[in-house]
Amino acid sequence: MKTYSRHMLKTTMLALAVTAVAPVASAQDITKLLVWGDPIREPFYKAFDEARDSIELEFVAIARNEMIAKLQLALQSGDGIPDAIFLQDTNFSAPLKTRRVDYLMELQDKVPQATIDGFYPTSNSVCEPGDGTLVCLRNDIAHFMLWYNEPLMEELGLEVPTTWEEYESVALAAAANDSGIVSGAVAMHIPLMNFLYSNGCNLAIPVEGKRDVLNINATAPQCVEAAQLVDRMLDAGTLARVAPFDPEFVELAKSNKLLMIPGPTWFGEFIIKKRYEFPEGTVGIGMTPKWESQDQPLAWSWGGGMWGGWKDTKHPEEVVDLLTFVTTDVDVNRTAVTMPAYQPASVEWGAAFDGSGYYAAGDGFQTMVDAATYAHPGYVSLRLDARSSFNKAVVNDLAAGASFESLLPQLQEEFVNAAKLARYQVVVE
């Protein structure tokens, strides 16, 4: 009896010792990563956390406008620097990979080439500073499409335009007889930029192979041609002198007076559906138009985020694993808010997009995939703020009635000044 009791005691003590030690051992094996992002991206991080038993993430939500300042402060103090980060703006990677602020990890040798090749063409341009390195991975792509009101197009007996020149004439036909129908709103920087860049106008486009040299030529013939088309449409009343989100334009759209509008891939779900309140089955998705002189379209982009890692993280392998997971995992990206940049991961997202039944045709996703091929390679991350330059030089004057063409020289001046302030060398070609 005594022997049995002693045996029991020993066994119990051993069991207690094992239970006491076991959690300590497993806790030591866990890698903790500090990660920053916006609340929308929290589920991505959570999914990775759940998928990796040996990794634990501490997530910090940060507002878009405060991201760079907070990161610079952390870098300066050396405390609380995130191992991985979601960059909400394509212009965030450039200021985080400079001589002074060198935060981003180079990924070109860490992520398999096959994975990098799986991203849509030119989507990772925002992560390529121009010196052959890759400093982040693109989360979502946002190239321009042509969104249109299909029943209205049919009712008017018009065809969806495939060139910008056709876009002008279709818009003019729709506006005949004082119908009040418009085909876009341009008192905003990005809609204007799309007209310019789609025609090959170079406004702060990096010179190949030289990361600090920008080509700025706002008065080149391609820019003038695009600006003249905008001016003609403004004069004809087919384009509105307001921003696409201004309440008066939203009212127009809601009252079936918007025939078509160039907009990025997320426009359908978040602007046309939610703000313009187009009824189900009425939204058509067309290829972004090309200019008649072009063989194929050239689409500017509006938005898209990226994922990056800290170059001095103590856990580079885990960080690369995380960046690869959140960009390529099919399950995580199926419910992403915008079109995933990694092609295989975007397929199921596209199936859900088409399957929603909201869009007029069931193949809108394929049109977006096709249009991705034509995304402008010059959509890169810059240290200058194009929005600010456009607002100062163009937007207010255009809204007040000035012609776009007449504002191009001051746009040139504003861009050159901004580029020089950001320590770029400027060439005019």
């Binding site: 609340p39 910090v60 402060l73 989100f245 779900e269």
Partner: protein, 293 residues
């Protein structure tokens, strides 16, 4: 006749000025309260000061409150903790400091007064990096203690207390008490404190507003979501939702313009309530010393 006419003109001028300020400052506040009852569609389509419905107000408020299992309430509770902690520390530090500067003569008094004034006019952004580095050194970043300590630095409160005691408590009274054997601390406790109710209300109110609205320090010192206060938490949430900037509209967060408006009301309402409750003391504190003869 002439006097009556002058009286009418002066009344007209006074009422015109008052009406101007009511329109400029009151209408936005009224809009905020009314907008909280409207839907997103109504905010765009209806007239600016139209009323929606209480049902909409309740629904959007619940949307906001339910976000991430009630995270907004966690931020609100944190705001209360930070504010109560900082206001308490501020009062404990400012009132005696102002009393000492007003009543006692000691070496360095003038220098402290000048430094207080300099600290008052120094923009908070200018000292944010040193504060951050100091808190990092002390291991107090991302802690309640760190933010409460950093937010309790309130030179304006010290200066208010100094002005209050200088103008309301004659030095001769203190000197008489001293002659009768009252120590410095006893003088403060038995004479300085009892007459400082309006001052306490005034300093507490300004400190409350400062801390309840504290964005910058909280943003710098606190990273953990569960320790954020209302201004930082709501800014992050609303920024990500695209509610106020359609360019960032690609979001699946259940927060739109009506929720953003409710969030603004959530931040503003406690300030209005505290002011209404404490206005009698705050106003008498503001008038303190005005009748010094």
């Amino acid at each position: 006749m002439n006097q009556a006419r002058k009286f009418r003109i002066s009344h007209f001028v006074i009422w015109s000025i008052l009406a101007f300020f009511i329109i400029v400052y009151g209408v936005p506040l009224l809009w905020l309260l009314l907008a909280g009852t409207r839907t997103e569609s109504s905010l765009i389509s209806d007239t600016p000061l139209s009323f929606g419905s209480f049902a909409t107000m309740k629904e959007t408020f619940l949307n906001l409150i339910r976000y991430n299992s009630g995270q907004v309430m966690t931020w609100a509770l944190n705001s209360v903790i930070y504010t109560v902690g900082s206001v308490t520390l501020t009062l404990l530090a400012c009132i005696p400091a102002g009393y000492a500067l007003a009543m006692a003569e000691f070496r360095g008094r003038k220098l402290i007064l000048i430094l207080t004034l300099v600290a008052m006019i120094t923009p908070s952004q200018a000292i944010i990096l040193p504060i951050f580095l100091e808190m990092t050194f002390l291991g107090l970043t991302n802690t309640y203690t760190g933010l409460i300590l950093a937010s309790s630095f309130f030179p304006f409160g010290v200066y208010l207390a100094y002005i209050y005691y200088t103008t309301s408590l004659p030095k001769s009274v203190i000197e008489s008490a001293r002659v009768d054997g009252c120590g410095q601390l006893q003088c403060f406790i038995h004479m300085g404190l009892p007459m400082a109710k309006p001052l306490l209300a005034l300093v507490a109110f300004f400190s409350f507003v400062n801390n309840w609205n504290n964005y910058f320090l909280a943003f710098i010192l606190i990273s953990d979501d569960s320790k954020q206060n209302l201004p930082v938490g709501l800014t992050t949430l609303i920024s990500a939702s695209g509610a106020l900037n359609a360019q960032e509209a690609a979001s699946n967060l259940p927060v739109g313009q009506p929720e953003a408006i409710q969030a603004a009301i959530l931040v503003v309402l406690p300030i209005i309530l505290v002011f209404l409750v404490s206005q009698k003391h705050v106003r008498s504190g503001l008038n303190a010393g005005a009748e010094k003869g």
